[in-house]
Amino acid sequence: MRDSAQRWSFAFRNLIRHARRNLISGAAIAFGFTGLALMGAYLVRTDAYLGVVSVYLNQAGHVSIYKKDGLQKFLTYPGKYTLSPQDQLRLGHLLREFPEVEFTAGFLIGQGLLSTGCRDVPFLAKGIDDKKGLRIREHSLVKKWTPGLIAPPYDKSLGIYPNIGDGISITGQISQMIGKPKIWDEAPKAVSPVVTDCTDKAAKAKLSETSDVQMVAKAFNGDFSAADAFIVAHHSTGLAFSEETSIFTNLSHLQKLFQTQDITYLAVFLKPGTSTSAFYDRLKQKLDAEVGGYDVYPFYNEKISPFYAGVMEFLTTMASFFFVLVLTTIIITIVSFLTVGFMERRREMGTLRSIGYTPRMIAGDFFRESTLLIVLSAMSGTFVCYVVVVIVNSLKIQFSPPGIANTMPFMLTLTPLLCLSVAALVAGIGLSSAWLKLRKLTQEPIVDLLRG
């Protein structure tokens, strides 16, 4: 033990002996570590943000259950590929056996036209129970990761209007497209008159003063159907491609429009900290074994959340590429550090060998120096990381990455686990390459070492 402590002390003094050179090597490793950790911090943040958008705000749930082939066919054959009340009951019973389920919610999806009397826009509506919708919006993870998407003007939800059975929430973009900027709270609770001449500017102007609209669709039984609605809230899906068509409404209101009691899918929301992939595997196994006829999808499946899956795959590929680049740089730095250090101390190594040091002992000394260098660099890098993260997060930078509706905050999330993982990776790669190099370097004959 004492011998070991002395050797580490010896290694540390050797590091200081060539302070300038070792400082440069250490700085290179520290910056490499910082780059990897910050990239990881951005990945963690983006994964959390898009994950919450997919799971909660776009209501995919952690896992969603469809009728077999329902995901592909429910819009074309809605009556055949939706979950009937019996299906819902059966699935509800089955899910009670899983303690990690926080809650479930049924969703009906349907398409149609939203009409003001003079302007029609296509919609893709999602019907949800008001209380479940409120619970989703007020979830702790939504507040933590996507507060901007539930802040004004998106701070109202259907759930706060329980007495308005035909309330709908539309996106800001739809509101602009149909010329209906006002919501229930701002507009008179009256119904706009029938406009027979849409070229009449005065009549058209009256339409923008109220919040009433009408929804037209083909019911599940093929009948032409229509329903009244009031715009009670605005929302953002967080994703550009769905901002032009997304409507949320009460489940029973949408079921009335489509003349059905079915839902399109059942979303399962898990307790925070639960592994989605593990739950998905177990649920799929149980469903296939006990009740066939359903398809299960985790939220990260590209068919459920194509944007999330696409972005994370792209970022992971890009990050992997940079990881390899940076790790290669670290390997080269360490190998260069060892090679130069060894070359400078050849006679010293020769002297030590001649008095009985084995090549392994010498390699051990250099290895300890490399270890200290990497550890000190990692610690410095971690400190720099935290400073950068604090500065970046306090700047509250907003940016518009492709595919995101409006803007999203550019923030980084650095966790102890991330730092330790990057440190372990850097140390593992660095020290492995150090050991391989040292084995070669320390095999030289004593005579050659003493000559210098």
């Binding site: 009409s115 009397g117 003079c118 029609d120 119904v191 008159p193 029938v194 027979t196 009433d212 009408q214 037209v216 083909k218 093929g222 009948d223 032409f224 229509a226 329903a227 009244d228 003349q259």
Partner: protein
């Protein structure tokens, strides 16, 4: 004598041409037998649709005058009370429970292969610009063939190829097309009904079969029954009266 005969023979084709109607006239004549009259008419129409292995039936009571028409759903019972109102080129839908009628498109699907605009009166002479094409036969029936191009974006179809019998001046076939001329649906007409109009008996459509152009097994058959002239106040065709 020979000279007279020669003149007569030379003039005969021109005489025949002068007796032939123009495309516009043909459309006006054929429209009458499909409800395009200035008088108020009423009839019932039953639509039987079949698509793969599903069948459905819907019935309507139609009241029409000129460019206006009111279609009330009478069967099945879940659709009773639903009303489609055609005011010139505007189309409204109303059912009990709605706060006000909703403006819809004649192009939207009503049931089966039938669009909203198919159940109302036909005013092709107003809505389409006809161009004569070479004559063809439909079965054994020699027909004028017209290429109809829509004058207005609110018509039910952008383009129609229309076969009108040379003998009866009634439409026997229609092919509803995209603006580029690609076939969407085919329709075949029968005229087993008649109505009294201006003291004369006018043939009136009794059946219209609409088939999907790609899948002929998907079709809707509209059966017209009990057409007659009638009286109806102008308020019947007023959109604001639907809510009363």
């Amino acid at each position: 004598m020979l000279r007279i005969i020669a003149i007569l023979v030379t003039c005969m084709p021109f005489a025949a041409t002068a007796a032939d109607s123009t495309p516009e006239e043909l459309l006006k004549i054929s429209d009458r037998s499909r409800g395009g009259l200035a008088s108020t008419l009423s009839w019932q129409v039953e639509i039987e649709s079949s698509e793969k292995d599903t069948k459905s039936t819907r019935s309507f009571e139609i009241t029409a005058k000129g460019v206006d028409a009111l279609a009330k759903a009478t069967a099945p019972s879940r659709n009773k009370g639903e009303v489609f109102l055609f005011n010139d080129r505007s189309l409204w839908f109303y059912k009990p429970g709605l706060r006000k009628p909703v403006g819809i498109s004649s192009r939207q699907r009503l049931t089966g292969e039938t669009s909203n605009g198919d159940i109302a009166t036909t005013n092709y002479s107003r809505d389409y610009t006809p161009t004569a094409l070479p004559d063809e036969k439909v079965g054994e029936e020699p027909c004028y063939v017209l290429d109809l191009k829509s004058k207005n974006p609110s018509t039910t179809y952008d383009r129609i190829r229309y076969w009108i019998s040379r003998k009866t001046k009634l439409a026997v076939k229609a092919q509803f097309q995209t603006p580029e001329g690609k076939a969407l649906k085919n329709a075949f007409f029968k005229y087993g009904n008649s109505i009294q109009f201006e003291g004369k008996k006018l043939p009136f459509v009794s059946e219209m079969e609409i088939q999907d152009a790609l899948m002929a097994q998907n079709k809707s058959i509209l059966k017209y029954q009990a057409p007659k002239t009638t009286e109806a106040p102008a308020s019947v065709f007023n959109v604001n009266s639907l809510m009363r």
